[in-house]
Each structure stands twice: as structure tokens, then as C-alpha cells.
């Protein structure tokens, strides 16, 4: 188990070690030219996404948890739907709609008779555009966590504040918001982690940030060490976020003043207030999901005939097979780790599960670089060993095959399945095992008769989530895939990069459709979570 954790943390340590590596010429060059741009852009991007997700996420969470207005129940779960969009897909959908040749600007020109440069229209492919795109698909993280926090808050606290003379709104500002702060901070950090991890959007928009820089340095300048150094700096950003996130989650636990729930107070909104609330919830949903999904659907209808052919089917099969096997492996390893932790609760074991759990925060680009640096070393070792003993040359056994991709997926996504399986196993209390043993069942029988039926749903959920994450994953697949091996995500990205936006829509729509599955699962959980207690 500890071995597994060590293996999985190998890429992270590889990257981190490059911080100490002597600087190359390329690195000097980078420092003098683009490093400041990367830092500035990343900082602006984070600032913009943080404030936008904060306003949208917390606002909608408050409205859907404590107010009553038309459509509230629908919004409560539908607001999660933008989560199904990978950033890069929404980015080029919007580009297709709003750039110069797109339907909206053409329509304006037709209507007014203006020509090129006669009018101002915001440029989508810009920093501001990127902030908008990220905010539209990432606000659900903040929404999800702050809504949960609002729902968990004791009614008494809010009611006490009302009896002490606070109005509805001031009790929100002075009580509910501070109480939910740890959850909100955690949600924003998650959104920022995703922002830093993104490669597809920023590269499509031509923005110079760390992930695009890593690609450029590696493939443009051919300097692996300098790329790894960039990755290491990115990693420091990410770890800061991870620490902030964990710390606020820990604090969230102490913020529950009372565990008694009763019905939450519901503020009935009428007239213009109800309309405002409706719009506040409708706009994020509309721009984050309905509009781009509609556009993708239209494009897909147009290009359907030419795009869906044998190679598209092969592509889909590739993606599904890859995602399914990665998900199966992730679930198997997660079961192994989690049961190991339950059985032998030593410090080393708990630490290794924790190490595995950080993987999810690490950007795919960083993981890819961290995987691709050590693997060829193993390859040459194995190759010389095999040709020395058996006369067989194994070539690039690991780094040139799907092994590398799979390994990177495990580093990045094992955390998801571990978390899911762990929460499932947590529901099977130790006393249930003991009850079964006192009723003369052996440990093996308990596994079959008690654990298996109870864990089925959790294992399935873990499988699904990893499956979808792999389907959407772009940068690691892009770097590590074997020659001529394509997935839906890579194909959609390549087509969009060639400005064939409409052609990429079928693949994109497919990814979004698959991505909706866990979102719907999540939203079902949301509506059930309060009803049961």
C-alpha cells in the first residue's frame, strides 16, 4: 500500500525536485521574457474567477436554500449543470457564437450596415473572456459547498439574530455568511484549482499562463527541464490552494453550533423581488449550460452526416474503453487502499492514503510532465535488462504505451474514487462487522453478505465519476497518448484548434452528455440530503 502511494507520488516529487535543479539557458530566457507575463496572467485569471464564482455561487446558493420563488426547486439542481462542460468546450462554443464571423456579430452588421471596425464588440478570446468562461462552468463548486453550508446551519442561530433585531438581509451578512465562510473558501479554492489546471481554454484563447507555457517550453523550445521548472512553480500555487482548502474544511467542522435541525425559515419573495431572484438564478444556468448546449446541438445537426463515420465510432470506442479501464483500475486500487486503511490503521497507511488524495489537485499538464520524465529511465533499464538476458528489445515499453496515460490517470483521479469508496465504507460502521461476527459469520462471509450489497452503489458512483473525468481529460492525454491514439476530447480540441468549430461539436456534445451523468447523480443527492434528516 505504501509502495503504491510512493509510486503514485513519484511524478509530484520529480517535478518538485526540479525546483532545485540548476537553471538552463532556456530558463534564463523564460525568466527574462515570459515568466512575468505568466505570473500576471495567472494572478488576474485567479482574481477574476474567484470574485465571479463567489458572487454567482453564493448568491444562487442563498436564494435556492432560504428563499421561495417560482422555479426554486428546479434551479436547486439545474444550477449544477454547467459543471458538465469542460472549460475548453464552452470556450470554443462561445467563440463560435460571438467572434467576428459568428452569428451574433453577423446579425448586428446585417441589421445596422456597419462593417469591420465600425463598432465595438468585446473580444471573446481574451483574458476577460477566459475569466467569463471559467466562471460560467466553475461557479457550481462554490454553489454546491455554500448551499450545503447554508442548509446545515442551525435555524436557531438565524432566528436568534432576527429576535436581536437583524433584518433578513443583515442576518444574512452578519450571521449566515460568516458561518458559511469556510465552505465558501473551500469552494472557491476548488474552482481556482480547476482554473490553474486548465490547458484547453487558455491555449485556445492564446493566453500565456503556466499550462500553456509548459507546453510551449517543452514542445516549442524542447527544454524538458525548464518545462518541469514551470510545472514546479505551478505546483506551488496549487499546493497553497490545497492547504487553504483543507484548512477551511477543518474549520467548517467547528462552526456547527448545534446539531438540531428543524425546518429552515423560508422567505417568500413576491413581485419584482421574485422576478429578480428568478433572473439571478436563470442567467448563470442559461449562459453556463442552455445557450452553449443549444449551439452545440445546432452545429451537431448541421455536421452530423459528415462527422459521424467509422473513424468517429472508433474514436468513441477508444475513449470509452480507456475511460472504463481507468475507472475500473481506479476503483480496484481505491478498494485496496481503503480496506487496507480500515484493517491496519497505522500512521504510514493513513499518510499514504492522504498522499494519494492530493493527486486530484495537480494539473494534468504537471502530472504529464512528471510522468514523462522518469518513465524513459525505467524504459532503458527494462530494455537493457531484457535484451541482456533474453535478447528481446522492449523499446519504450512504458512511456510509449497506454501505460503512461493510465499511470497519469491514476495519479490524478485515484483520489476521486478513494474519496467515494471511503465515504461508502464509512457508512458501514465497525459495529455492523462485529454484529455479524457475533452472529457466527467469518470475515469472508461478512464481506460477501454485508459489505458487497452495501457498497454496490458507492463503487458504481466512484466508477462513474472517474469514467467521466477521464472522458473529459485533455492535457495529460494530449501529451502522453501513444502515437496515433485519439480520444473524443483530443479530437474535439484539435478540430477547434483548426477553427473547425462546427465539426468538433459532435464530439463535444458527446463529452457534455457523458459529463451530465455525475452532475445528475450529485443533484439527486442534494435533493435527498435534506429530506432524510
Amino acid at each position: 500500500m505504501i509502495l503504491l502511494a510512493t509510486l503514485l507520488s513519484l511524478p509530484i516529487f520529480t517535478i518538485a525536485s526540479f525546483l532545485l535543479y540548476p537553471s538552463s539557458e532556456v530558463w534564463q530566457h523564460l525568466r527574462e521574457t515570459v515568466l512575468n507575463e505568466y505570473l500576471l496572467n495567472s494572478a488576474l485569471l485567479m482574481l477574476g474567477v474567484a470574485s465571479a464564482t463567489l458572487v454567482i455561487g453564493v448568491g444562487c446558493a442563498w436564494l435556492t436554500s432560504l428563499c421561495v420563488f417560482p422555479g426554486k426547486k428546479l434551479f436547486a439542481w439545474a444550477l449544477l449543470m454547467p459543471l458538465a462542460f469542460p472549460g475548453y468546450i464552452i470556450a470554443y462554443t462561445y467563440t463560435g457564437m460571438f467572434d467576428f464571423a459568428g452569428p451574433l456579430q453577423s446579425w448586428i452588421r446585417d441589421l445596422t450596415g456597419w462593417g469591420y471596425q465600425d463598432y465595438y464588440f468585446p473580444e471573446i478570446r481574451s483574458l476577460g473572456g477566459a475569466i467569463t468562461m471559467f466562471s460560467l462552468v466553475l461557479y457550481p463548486y462554490v454553489y454546491l459547498l455554500s448551499r450545503a453550508a447554508f442548509l446545515e446551519q442551525s435555524v436557531c442561530v438565524l432566528e436568534v439574530s432576527r429576535t436581536l433585531g437583524c433584518s433578513v438581509w443583515s442576518s444574512f451578512y452578519r450571521i449566515a455568511l460568516p458561518l458559511a465562510r469556510p465552505a465558501i473558501v473551500a469552494g472557491v479554492s476548488l474552482a481556482l484549482m480547476e482554473t490553474l489546471a486548465d490547458y484547453g481554454t487558455v491555449s485556445f484563447f492564446g493566453l500565456g499562463v503556466f499550462t500553456t507555457g509548459i507546453f510551449r517550453t517543452w514542445f516549442g523550445l524542447g527544454d524538458g527541464a525548464a518545462a518541469a521548472k514551470l510545472a514546479a512553480i505551478l505546483l506551488m500555487f496549487v499546493f497553497t490552494l490545497v492547504i487553504i482548502e483543507r484548512w477551511s474544511r477543518k474549520r467548517a467542522r467547528y462552526h456547527h453550533t448545534s446539531s438540531r435541525y428543524s425546518r429552515l425559515p423560508q422567505y417568500h419573495l413576491r413581485g419584482y423581488r421574485a422576478v429578480l431572484a428568478f433572473c439571478a438564478c436563470f442567467f448563470p444556468l442559461f449562459f453556463g449550460f442552455i445557450l452553449p448546449a443549444g449551439q452545440l446541438g445546432l452545429w451537431a445537426l448541421e455536421t452530423w452526416d459528415s462527422m459521424v463515420d467509422a473513424s468517429f465510432v472508433a474514436l468513441t470506442l477508444n475513449s470509452v474503453m480507456l475511460a472504463a479501464s481507468a475507472a475500473a483500475l481506479a476503483v480496484a486500487l481505491a478498494l485496496f487502499l481503503v480496506y487496507g486503511k480500515r484493517q491496519f490503521s497505522g500512521k504510514a497507511v493513513i499518510a499514504s492514503v492522504r498522499v494519494v488524495a492530493t493527486g486530484y489537485a495537480i494539473p494534468g499538464t504537471v502530472v504529464a510532465v512528471g510522468v514523462i520524465i522518469p518513465l524513459p529511465w525505467f524504459d532503458t533499464r527494462i530494455d537493457s535488462l531484457m535484451s541482456g538476458h533474453f535478447g528481446i528489445s522492449t523499446g519504450l515499453l512504458l512511456s510509449g504505451s497506454l501505460f503512461a496515460v493510465m499511470f497519469a490517470y491514476m495519479v490524478r483521479f485515484l483520489a476521486v474514487s478513494v474519496q467515494s469508496v471511503e465515504s461508502g465504507l464509512g457508512k458501514i460502521r465497525q459495529s455492523m462487522d462485529e454484529a455479524a461476527r457475533s452472529l457466527s459469520y467469518t470475515p469472508t462471509q461478512i464481506l460477501l453478505r454485508v459489505h458487497l450489497p452495501l457498497m454496490k452503489a458507492t463503487v458504481l458512483t466512484a466508477f462513474l465519476i472517474v469514467f467521466v473525468d477521464v472522458m473529459k481529460e485533455l492535457p495529460a492525454t494530449l501529451i502522453l497518448r501513444p502515437f496515433n491514439f485519439n480520444t473524443l476530447a483530443v479530437r474535439a480540441f484539435e478540430l477547434a484548434g483548426d477553427e473547425r468549430l462546427a465539426d468538433s461539436s459532435t464530439a463535444a456534445l458527446m463529452i457534455v452528455a457523458v459529463g451530465l451523468v455525475p452532475v445528475l447523480l450529485l443533484s439527486r443527492g442534494i435533493s435527498a440530503s435534506r429530506a432524510g434528516s
Partner: protein, 348 residues
């Protein structure tokens, strides 16, 4: 009469922390024993050692005169023929009530299983809920199902780990009496763990009061209340105060409340000072008495009043008075000593 359960000089603990220290007790068939003590005293560890979830460091445990735990060997729980009711009931959420009860009967033929399940559900009064799932039941109902499940395989010993602690206070004693009558009806031997003495009194025949890993005293509720062997038991069981007294002869002491004569020899020389335990029910409120004290505090408890009184010498005692005698604070009331059991402790 042979015993059903023997715990002999048991030492046990977790990692390198010793929790139990030379614990010994036995139960006859059909007897209900209770481990009573404050939290952290090791009472649950005793239960888990009997069940086989914790190993014995030293000493041994016998069930039905068969060794199940020694320092070298521990029979796994599934082969000990025990039943256990857990604090959180640990019902299997994916199984219906009847399947939960049937769970332990997996080695019996199908028809016998069905008959036994019906019988057990009838005994605990849950026949109507056979098809329900655990989450549809109230706490008290889950408790009954857990009991039926544990009793269905007819275990040699039933272990109950704080089974009423998740219940409303009003329900606890009623449930304890119900469980006792079910166990007595089936002639089960059982060990109960609790920190609530009223629960222990309501259920158990034999109570072991534990503190810091050792049994301080074993006996009936009556014995523990009226004949505590040490200050811990005197303090833990029931209420009372300890006042100083001078020994007059082998059976008599003199206190501020007057002379008290006991039945047993006092283990101290005449003239020396000892401590005497005075229970609230040892002092009777009597308006005609010459002795009197001032009411410092009072608590109305429905059937009676508990008065906290200060005597002229400054010694404070408690007095249980019928609920009609409503006196004010600072009022002087007459009291009389009516003590059947003289309990003395030497001064340290």
C-alpha cells in the same frame, strides 16, 4: 451450580495501554450481570473481551466451562456462541427486519429459520414490522429488532453494550424492564454495560461497579446502596454525605446527629475518628423532634422533596421528605436519624 460465564483475573488493553486490571466475576445460567461505572472505567473492554473482539493479556474467560480467551489463545467471536446488542444497534440497513433477525440462523434449515424468526419477532412484539426496513423504525423499535436478532441463535451469553444510551430518558427504565422480562422468559444469561445506575438496578441481578479498570464491588443493587465497601462505591451509587464521627465502642459511633449503633464491628479503636455515610433516606423529617437544621437548598422531585440542611455544628446533610412537607429556604425544620445500615470508612 455450575456457572455459565467465568472471567478470571482478566488483564486487557489497547496497544501499550493497560485498561483492565485483574477483573474477576462469574454468572450462573439465567443470571443478568451488569458492568457499571463512569466512562473510561473499562466496562466496555470487559464486554469486548468476552465477545472476543479484544484479546486477553492475562487471566482467562470461560463460557459454559470452555476456555475461550487465555493469554495465549483467543477463540474468534463467530465461534463463541454469543449474541451482542450494540449501542448503535448495528442493524443491517439493506435487510428487512425479518432478514436481520434471520441473519444469525444461516446454518439452520429454511423452515426452522422461518419459525424461529416468527417466534422472536412475536416475543419482542415486532411481528407487524417484519417487512419494514430498519430506517423506517423508531429507536425503541430498532432496539427490539437488535435484541431479537441477537437472541435468535440462542446464544450462551447475551452481551448488551449501553443498549439504552440512545433512548429518551423516559423510555430507558421502561425498556430496561421490558428487556429484563424477555431475558428472564427465555432464561438467558446476559451481561449489560451501562453508566446509568437506575438502568443497572432495573435490569441486573449482579452489578459489578468498576473504576479505573478494576471491579470495586460486586453485589445486588441493595448491597451496593446500603453496604458500600469503599468510598468510590458510596459516592458513585446513590446520594449521600460523609460526616465525621467518634468511635465509642466496637459497634457504636457518636455524630452531630446523635449516637448510631450498627450491627457489624467497626474496624477502628474507641476514641478515634472515622467517616460515616449518611444517605438522604437515613434522615427523616419530624416536626416533633428536638434535633433541627436549617434548609439551605431544596429540590422538588414529584413524590418527595430532597432538602439540603445545615446543622448548628455546620455539618450539612440531605433529607428526603414526603412531598407535602413544603418548607422555605432558611426555615428551621425538625429531623430525626433513622439509620439501618451503619457504613464507616477509616480516615486517611
Amino acid at each position: 451450580m455450575t456457572s455459565q460465564l467465568d472471567v478470571e483475573n482478566l488483564d486487557a488493553g489497547y496497544d501499550d495501554l493497560q485498561v483492565l486490571n485483574q477483573v474477576s466475576f462469574s454468572l450462573h445460567p439465567g443470571e443478568i450481570g451488569c458492568m457499571l461505572g463512569p466512562s473510561g472505567c473499562g466496562k466496555t473492554t470487559v464486554l469486548r473481551a468476552i465477545a472476543g473482539f479484544e484479546a486477553a493479556w492475562d487471566g482467562r474467560i470461560l463460557i459454559d466451562n470452555r476456555e475461550v480467551s487465555t493469554s495465549e489463545f483467543s477463540l474468534p467471536p463467530e465461534r463463541r456462541n454469543i449474541g451482542m446488542v450494540f449501542q448503535d444497534f448495528a442493524l443491517f440497513p439493506h435487510l428487512k427486519v425479518e432478514d436481520n433477525v434471520r441473519f444469525g440462523l444461516h446454518r439452520q434449515p429454511r423452515q426452522e429459520q422461518q419459525a424461529r424468526v416468527q417466534e422472536m419477532l412475536a416475543i419482542v412484539g415486532m411481528l407487524a414490522y417484519a417487512q419494514a426496513y430498519p430506517h423506517q423504525l423508531s429507536g425503541g423499535q430498532q432496539q427490539r429488532v437488535a435484541l431479537a436478532r441477537a437472541l435468535a441463535p440462542s446464544p450462551a451469553i447475551l452481551l448488551l453494550d449501553e443498549p439504552f444510551s440512545n433512548m429518551d430518558v423516559e423510555l430507558r427504565e421502561q425498556l430496561a424492564r421490558e428487556v429484563r422480562s424477555i431475558l428472564k422468559q427465555e432464561n438467558n444469561t446476559a451481561v449489560l454495560v451501562t453508566h446509568d445506575q437506575n438502568e443497572a438496578f432495573a435490569m441486573a441481578d449482579q452489578i459489578c461497579v468498576m473504576n479505573e479498570g478494576s471491579i470495586m464491588q460486586q453485589g445486588s443493587g441493595y448491597d451496593l446502596y446500603h453496604r458500600p465497601l469503599n468510598r468510590f462505591v458510596a459516592d458513585f451509587i446513590g446520594q449521600g454525605v460523609i460526616i465525621p464521627a467518634t468511635v465509642e465502642n466496637a459497634t457504636t459511633v457518636k455524630t452531630d446527629l446523635g449516637r448510631i449503633q450498627g450491627k457489624n464491628r467497626i474496624d477502628a479503636s474507641p476514641g478515634s475518628t472515622v467517616d460515616v455515610l449518611i444517605r438522604p433516606d437515613d434522615i427523616v423529617h419530624d416536626d416533633t423532634s428536638e434535633e433541627s437544621a436549617i434548609v439551605v437548598e431544596k429540590a422538588f422531585r414529584g413524590a418527595d422533596f430532597l432538602y439540603f440542611l445545615r446543622m448548628d455544628s455546620g455539618v450539612e446533610v440531605m433529607c428526603l421528605a414526603p412531598s407535602h412537607h413544603n418548607h422555605k429556604i432558611n426555615e428551621r425544620i425538625g429531623i430525626r436519624l433513622n439509620l439501618d445500615h451503619l457504613v464507616t470508612f477509616s480516615r486517611t
